[in-house]
Symmetry: C2
DNA sequence: CTGAAAGCGCTTACAG
DNA sequence: CTGAAAGCGCTTACAG
């Protein structure tokens, strides 16, 4: 019995190719235990090699592609990224399932023992990290489906990831401040180990070095991508002997924290202190004063993530592990020229 | 042929009960058109009455319940509501599908012609409206699955909806301002036709009337639940002969707009103007000054929505069409006593 | 532990 | 338009 092209393998075909009866193959498929271990192994191998799928599974696959979007929390960036994903999903006729990522990956699928195929459709996985937490993504890679990570805390080789040009963004934010005449510019960063934070910081360093300015150790502070870090960070910077005239915050949350604390201390932004954020969230747009921020193309990142995932689902080669979309500096009210008295 | 309890109807059973052959029933199930219209009608009726489901459909139903969450946009409230839904979904082992609601309801399902059963599982639908848009929900009700609407623009009878105590919230916001000594209090409302807006406004009116204060027509302005409405609204109020000393904004977006415009005009909040928002979003927490706001229990609203939906999916009676969770006034920095000079 | 045989539920080509 | 008959793909009770 040989399969002609386009023909799907049947139970009978598998049985014949292993040299057992259809009954035995059926037992293996149904997870019964009255099958010798060796026989079972042979049959599973043959099923896998032939790409056998039960009629039910085939029917499942007939419908639209299902992509799971796993979140590990809610950041200000998320709605826009999600919007991009949903928009593209609707264009491509793809279904989106939503789940909260537990570090250990989807649990329910793993507790079926000898059934080799899952009975629920999931063709690919997009992980949208909040970038505020360094959870391990490896268990998710163990799945045999394509995975794309959006804006990862750390991009790991082997996983396709979508990010923005963090280095260039950090550099343009800093250059903007330099052009306004600032010389003592602080970097209120994210977690030291976060790759996106490192890239933003190196962009900052690069701009300073190009202007012949040394990096003052006390003016670079790492912390979490949270409002509280901005509040505490400003307090720390103000106590420094090299009190900065401008701050580049590693994300908009931190920047908003700076804004809050500045307001409390009656420090005027931008008159007394210039401030640049990162992300380009709606929050930055609506803060008072409106925040100058390095905008990530969040919607496009969502769109790109789904497109890259679908290409993998369809078996295409991507040619790269990493997509970086360009950031753009959006100048609003929180940055201004250094005032003579400040220096 | 009679079905004993617990036995599922087969094709043969349906055929026999209608008095046709299995072939004909099979044709109807597969949407073939070589069946007389009258026969088809009879068979469809019998299938429906017997609750016939194909083996594939039965297998589909064996897995976890699938709930679709349909969004019609992204508001500041959405992430928290979604968080509540996902949290509960994970507790209950329910799968969540996400889609963008097009006013006309899911399209793809409707273009199969004579196939009476959809081949994709969807046990219930939660619609999360942004409350900024009055789209018609009736097409979604046409689905034969339970529907729950969260925070609807207008609650319609026949659809289960989850909301907050908008009237009580509007009243407590206004009472708070009255207690601070304010007498000329404006209401910067949402769309006049929006039910939640009306409830909030009537709460406002009620508090004023109880204090023996007449409602000044010029101090009640309706508009969209958007930042821009806050900006324009403040401008309009300032031009009024009865310039208010306090504003109750119908949501946090509007309030943020007021904050922006006040800042631009160098009007200090709360010294020159007190301001209360509605929703209790993160935005309100992080604005400068931090916004006093009537908080909706957004997470609980999400949780309640999913729970109410699951009860319906499981065939329980809800006993009510409307769940209202209590709002709570969160006092922050944007409200303060009237200053003598203001009055 | 294995498989021949009976059977289930559904589909399809085709005769009428 | 309808249905008897053949058949498909899979499962199961049971003999060995």
């Amino acid at each position: 019995m040989i399969l002609s092209k386009g023909e799907r393998p049947t139970l009978a075909y598998i049985a014949q190719s292993v040299g057992v009866s259809t009954s035995t193959v059926s037992k293996v498929l149904n997870g019964r235990d009255d099958v010798a271990a060796a026989t079972r192994t042979d049959i599973l191998e043959a099923l896998r090699k032939a790409g056998y799928r039960s009629p039910a599974q085939r029917r499942l696959t007939a419908g639209p592609i299902v992509v799971e979007v796993a979140l590990d929390g809610f950041s200000a960036c998320l709605p826009t990224v999600l919007g991009g994903i949903l928009e593209t999903a609707s264009e491509e006729g793809v279904d989106v399932r939503l789940s909260i990522a537990s570090g250990s990956g989807p649990k329910r699928d793993s507790d079926r023992k000898s059934q080799p195929m899952p009975n629920k459709r999931r063709d690919g996985l997009i992980i949208v990290t909040t970038a505020s937490d360094d959870s391990d993504l490896t268990p998710l890679r163990a799945q045999s489906i394509p995975v794309v990570v959006v804006d990862p805390f750390n991009s790991r080789s082997g996983v396709v990831s979508i990010g923005a040009t963090n280095w260039a963004g950090g550099r343009s934010a800093t250059e903007h401040l330099l052009n306004l005449g600032h010389r003592r510019i602080a970097y209120l960063g994210g977690p030291a180990s976060a790759e996106c934070n490192q890239a933003r910081m190196h962009g900052y360093c690069s701009a300073l070095m190009l202007s012949g300015i040394d990096i003052t150790p006390g003016l670079v502070i790492h912390g979490k991508f949270h409002v509280e870090h901005g509040v505490a960070g400003l307090a720390e910077l103000l106590a420094s002997p090299n009190r900065p005239t401008a701050i580049f915050a590693a994300n908009d949350d931190i920047a908003v924290g700076v804004l809050r604390e500045a307001h409390r201390r009656r420090i005027r932004v931008p008159e007394d202190l210039s401030l640049v954020g990162f992300d380009g969230t709606v929050m930055a747009e609506n803060s008072v004063p409106a925040l100058t921020s390095v905008a990530q193309p969040l919607r496009d990142m969502g769109r790109t993530a789904l497109r890259a995932l679908l290409r993998q689902v369809r078996g295409e080669q991507l040619g790269t592990d990493r997509f970086e979309l360009t950031t753009s500096l959006v100048i609003r009210e929180s940055t201004g020229p250094v005032i003579a008295g400040q220096t």
